[in-house]
Symmetry: C2
Subunit: 231 residues, 2 copies
């Protein structure tokens, strides 16, 4: 029985796909909803475009840097927890080997069954610490080069997503006409995005499409209603 196809079936999207999804979800939704909301208050497309582009600049940088810092923090957090486990296996070996035993006890192993396993794992410091990191703390070693790649992917996806709902306001001088075109192409883009996205998360594609369209619609309606209320 070959192993590869079996592993493949559990595939749920690479980190790049995840970063694109993070950036594009908000990129398609927030600039669209902001532009729709402002359409209820201003007569000139140019103000909607200015606000929309300012939002795209702000949002893409905030999310991109957010992704960068999150990835950097993961790396530092992993390193500091690993340091601590290394120290603890030296200072409190009996506590730490008991924690290895605890993991196996949860799976119904008896003490005589687990004794050789625990001592085999604890014999090698690297194995011991890796075991604690993964099975006690649930931490996987993060990729240290991921941060900048992640930042660029998230920010680019946000910009691409955000320019779609703004395009009609850039072309058409009438805000109300632009709003209708913006809503139409954004809903289409959200549906396609939701459909494609759900292939990576394992949920039904039509449900995925409905979810992203509803999210965009709700955010835009709320922004529009709020602006009308202020007027």
């Amino acid at each position: 029985m070959p192993q590869t196809p079996h592993i493949e079936r559990h595939f749920t999207g690479t980190e790049t796909v995840r970063d694109i999804v993070i950036g594009m979800s908000d990129g398609l939704t927030v600039p669209f909803a902001l532009a729709a909301g402002l359409s209820g208050a201003v007569a000139a497309s140019s103000i909607v475009v200015t606000a929309g582009l300012a939002e795209i600049a702000a949002g893409s940088i905030a999310m991109g840097l957010g992704g960068y810092l999150a990835a950097k923090t993961d790396v530092e957090h992993y390193a500091s927890e690993r340091e601590r486990e290394l120290r603890e296996t030296a200072e409190l070996p009996e506590v730490e080997s008991e924690e290895v035993a605890k993991v196996f006890r949860e799976y119904g192993l008896t003490e005589p069954q687990m004794a050789p396993v625990v001592s085999a794992i604890c014999k090698d410091r690297e194995h011991w610490v890796d075991f604690m990191m993964r099975f006690e703390l649930g931490l996987e070693p993060p990729d240290p080069r991921r941060a900048s790649r992640s930042a660029i992917t998230i920010a680019s996806a946000y910009v691409v997503g955000g320019l779609i709902p703004l395009a009609p306001y850039m072309i058409l001088p009438s805000v109300s006409t632009a709003l209708r075109y913006s809503a139409a192409i954004t809903f289409l883009a959200l549906a396609v995005f939701g459909y494609v996205k759900s292939r990576f998360t394992g949920i039904s594609p039509w449900k995925g499409a409905l979810q992203t369209v509803l999210t965009g619609g709700l955010a835009a309606s709320a922004a529009f209603a709020l602006v009308k209320l202020i007027e």
Copy 2:
């Protein structure tokens, strides 16, 4: 040796703290940067406030629903993967028990050492599948009630964060004066937020404060520069 304080030292923030951090990071940054950007183009505080509130409505709903859907997807993804593992332990038991063995082999166990452990784990279907979920796929069982709580926490944090930079524009009629006050209180809020946040991620608090302030400053500067460029 008591176990509790040992576990406590690994504490890295509950899910609620994480949701507050997610909502507040963007809530403090994006509405601030958008308002700062628009300050370069419009003379009336009222347009900045309208755009800012529209952004808060759009951003809080987009992020809140995003958190809701992510949590729901986690639950569905876990359930479908668990279903698959249940099926596979029935249909391909020898492949699945070999995968249990593979986990132990990585930690330097010999075949005679792991044989009783593997057969003990595979004796009980629940233990077997739980072991595969956690150790082969690295998936922890998600809390099914988390989705709506997560959505409300993220959205509320976004609204609270977003109202801080907007407050000066609501009070002061002059956009340029409001921008100065907005920058001052937002940078203070970002510094406090970054300082407090880093206590949960394990990085140095001053570094955390610097990171959030720089992110906010960069996003606002980019939005301001872009708006000036359009003008």
